[in-house]
Amino acid sequence: MFDYSYIIIPAIIVGIISRISMLKSDYRQYPSYPQGVFSHFTLGIVSASLGAVAIPALAEKEFSAVTFLALAAQQFRDVRSLERQSLDNIEPTELVSRGTAYIEDIAKAFEARNYMTMLTGLVVSAIIFFSEHFGVPTYYAIMSGVIGGVIAILFFNFAIKRDTVSKIAEVKPATITFEGPLLLINGIVIMNIGLKASRKIYLEKGIAVEINPYDANGVATLANMGQRQAIQHNAATLLGIRKDVDEPDFTPIARRDPHTGKVVMAIVTMEPDVNCLVEAVKSTIVLESAKRRPLDSKTGRKAAKE
């Protein structure tokens, strides 16, 4: 095994760096720090090692070793269901829920990132192995492997980058009015609020946005309830929601104008700054499971034109 340490060790190290580059515990605090981050870091080491040893194992004619990759795939599928389960479990404790679509998206991202770590390990070990095979001195082979690995990291990070709402729609401040008990945002009915005290709070402290999709793709994506739930959750996380469990009146609801496909949302936050709300909505990611692209089809394009 030590014959191949010059392949395996750099490959594992670059693989781990690749996992760390994707392991950002930002304002979402997911993976939660420190325990969640630590377990994913450890899994990253495992997946980097699996990717790194595949080619040396083949070179040694240990074909059965490759079945470990299949085992790894199984393992990482478990990571996905584990993440999904744990997020599902804490969902009732959220004042503004993430929604199942968002949870599924997060779980998917964790699985995919482990595969990318594995692939980075594989790329590095493959480059080192083959350059050595074709007579490149070991030192240069390792160097080119590391450089190839860094390019792979940059490529993968770019490849899994998700769009934000700002890319599919224009977000601008909107006004809240009441028509009797009905809460309206720019003329679109949101909900019926009975209590006069709640209406007063909405008028005094409520802020609202209008999300105008640029094209038919945006209309279809924003129609997805999971996507709207994610927007609500993100806004509530970033600005701080002003409600408790016994105040359903202040649950943010993003409603759709059925005529134009635009979405409006009102929220009562700790910091009633409408520009921050616009930023928060813009920075929400477009969920993979909510994304629709009708304009990629002939029928969709034709329907959009008419």
Binding site: G194, L195, A197, P248
Partner: protein, 64 residues
């Protein structure tokens, strides 16, 4: 396991006796607007439901 009603009218609060009759949902009669508002708030806090105005002198409390 959580068991409870959802998307269902839990209570009706009204100042107009003639408009409301119900077989299953409890009805609370209020003497005036202020009492109606107050009773609705109190019941909504207990049931964690939301108060909706029907604009005919009645409030309904719905759990969402």
């Amino acid at each position: 396991m959580d068991v409870g009603f959802k998307e269902d009218i839990l209570a009706i609060i009204t100042t107009n006796k003639e408009l409301v009759s119900s077989g299953t949902t409890p009805i609370f009669y209020a003497r005036d607007e202020d009492e109606k508002e107050r009773v609705a708030l109190l019941i909504s806090k207990v049931t964690m439901g939301m108060v909706h105005d029907l604009e005919n002198g009645s409030y309904v409390i719905v759990k969402h």
